[in-house]
């Protein structure tokens, strides 16, 4: 099997031990990109020469005893709304088709300083809002478990790339579920961190009070390795000023014994969850219980209310950001994203403020719940990945509570359905309990996440 299927933890350990080079790992990832990107469209830009040069430089540093840490020499994909100095960052839009930033986003500066290698920029919905669309400069990403299926979005390419072994880890952004939904449908782990834990400067905004960048990896343990580097103060993002140092890599393998976990039947009043997805979530909950957690049910505000608040705030804030370009260059936007953004213009200030007030009530309800619970688990999506282009199923999501409250939320794989498509559950925690979420995710993955099964593990010629 290609080394590109190693987790970050496994690859890092081998690199540190001298049994694997960054050059070999990066070469294997590039070979898989060459073989599969034509089908999956996970990357809009691949930096073959630059990545190989960076890998060789990393190997030289490591050989000289100057290994920076676990991410040194690890190839990563970065969502194409995250600015990377000297590397085109399009937002998947004709509007920014030739945009080459002079400075990197703070989060990439952190990863790069930790020795990570930028192997390419990953596909996204246009400015993270436009849905699966075919009128953009680049085609939409396809699901590696079944290319006739949706990846979920908007961090579609990041999820597809990690799931297919095209890179070791990736960055996504999440405004209403855009890290967690594609993570769920592509069978990987995705963390939406606590608001203010990961800096957003240099990330194209969608909705200022709902946007959260986060790691997308094969395992919760890998998310912890990335968060160890990503979390912390960003001088250009005031929301990060209170970010505490959290023990991600230590905590992730320490289990859930003694934790009080609330099961939130989030979709009961909303829309039904498919039986196989619900059964898989039950197995995940059983795994947490067997690992020593105390599990009880919890009641929280209706999902419909949370979705309504998220809808009004995100439409208002995204319209505000794009308004000038919508006026001056509307033809540069794709049809769907233009319509979604323009619809934000009908929301008045009073409605936006009312939504923010209800948001505060929702935050209070979650804070009250976390007086009695350490974690809450609920559905991530109501189904497995729907057929490509079928956006209606996107209504069956349990993701928006994390964005509205700013609380950390983690999507973790619970196994595969009868068709071989990945399923997932969601873990939510109190502010800055991100490391505890990842520990719970690790327990679920070990018990039922089928982490030995990989998408497209056969050579491409065998797929037909």
């Amino acid at each position: 099997m290609s080394t590109s299927f190693l987790t970050i933890a496994e690859a890092s350990e081998r690199i540190a031990a001298g049994t694997l080079t960054s050059e070999q790992l990066t070469r294997d990832c590039l070979d898989r990109i060459a073989a599969l990107n034509e089908t999956l469209h996970a990357f809009v830009l691949v930096r073959e020469d630059e990545a190989m040069a960076a890998a060789r430089a990393a190997d030289a540093e490591i050989a000289a005893g100057r290994r920076i840490g676990p991410l040194h020499g690890i190839p990563m994909g970065i969502k194409d709304i995250v600015e990377t100095a000297g590397v085109r960052t399009t937002g998947q839009s004709a509007l920014f088709l030739d945009r080459v930033p002079e400075r990197s986003a703070h989060l990439w500066e952190r990863l790069e300083a930790a020795g990570a290698i930028l192997i390419g920029k990953t596909t996204t919905w246009e400015f993270a809002i436009g849905g699966t669309a075919h009128d953009l400069p680049f085609p939409p990403a396809r699901n590696p478990w079944d290319p006739s299926r949706e990846t979920g979005g908007s961090s579609s390419g990041s999820a597809a790339a990690v799931a297919a072994g095209l890179c070791s880890g990736a960055i996504g952004t999440d405004t209403g579920g855009s890290v967690r939904v594609p993570a769920a449908w592509c069978g990987i782990a995705g963390l939406k961190p606590t608001y203010g834990l990961v800096g957003r400067s240099g990330v194209y905004p969608l909705s200022h009070t709902l946007d959260h960048p986060g790691p997308m990896c094969w395992s919760s343990e890998d998310c912890a390795l990335m968060m160890e580097v990503l979390a912390g103060d960003d001088p250009r993002d005031a929301s990060t000023r209170a970010a505490p140092a959290l023990p991600f890599t230590r905590r992730v393998t320490e289990g859930v014994a003694g934790l009080r976990i609330g099961v939130w039947d989030a979709m009961t009043d909303h829309i039904q969850t498919d039986p196989e997805v619900a059964d898989a979530m039950s197995r995940g909950i059983d795994a947490l219980r067997e690992a020593g957690a105390e599990v009880r049910s919890v009641t929280l505000p209706p999902l419909k209310e949370i979705d309504a608040v998220c809808n009004l705030i995100s439409r208002s804030e995204s319209f505000a950001y794009h308004r000038v370009n919508l006026e001056e260059q509307p033809e540069k936007y794709g049809f769907e994203s233009r319509a979604r953004l323009l619809a934000g213009s009908i929301i008045g200030a009073a409605e936006y403020i009312e939504a923010q007030r209800v948001r505060t009530l929702i935050i209070s309800a979650f804070e009250d719940a976390f007086e009695d619970f350490d974690l809450i688990v609920c559905e991530m999506t109501g189904s497995v990945a729907p057929p490509h282009g079928d956006a209606t199923t996107y209504t069956r999501l349990g993701s928006r509570a994390g964005n509205v409250t700013g609380l950390p939320a983690h999507s973790v794989c619970t196994g595969f359905d009868a068709q071989g498509l990945p399923m997932a559950m969601q873990i939510i925690g109190p502010a800055f309990a991100d490391a505890v979420l990842l520990a719970a995710g690790h327990v679920v993955e070990q018990a039922c996440g089928a982490r030995q099964t990989r998408a497209l593990s056969r050579p491409r010629k065998e797929l037909a």
Binding site: F335, I346, I347, Q356, V358, G406
Partner: protein, 75 residues
């Protein structure tokens, strides 16, 4: 005014959308308008839902613009 749009259906709501876009100097062709109206249907539902959730006389406003829940609890 936007609430008027939310509580009136059909032609009145569409007229409001056209008026609002014109006021902002925003252009939209007929196909886009049709799609905007569909998204507006969804927003209309959201307006109503938020109104029902907000008890009159309560003033939950502190911290409402950050989305950041307070507290720090790490086990």
């Amino acid at each position: 005014m936007a609430r008027d749009a939310a509580t009136h259906s059909g032609a009145q709501r569409d007229a409001y959308i056209n008026h609002r876009l014109a006021l902002l100097g925003l252009a939209a062709d007929e196909a886009s308008l049709s799609r905007i109206r569909a998204v507006a249907d969804d927003l209309e539902f959201s307006f109503a839902r938020v109104r029902r959730a907000l008890p009159f006389g309560v003033e939950p406003c502190a911290g409402a613009t950050t989305g950041l829940a307070r507290g720090e609890r790490v086990k």
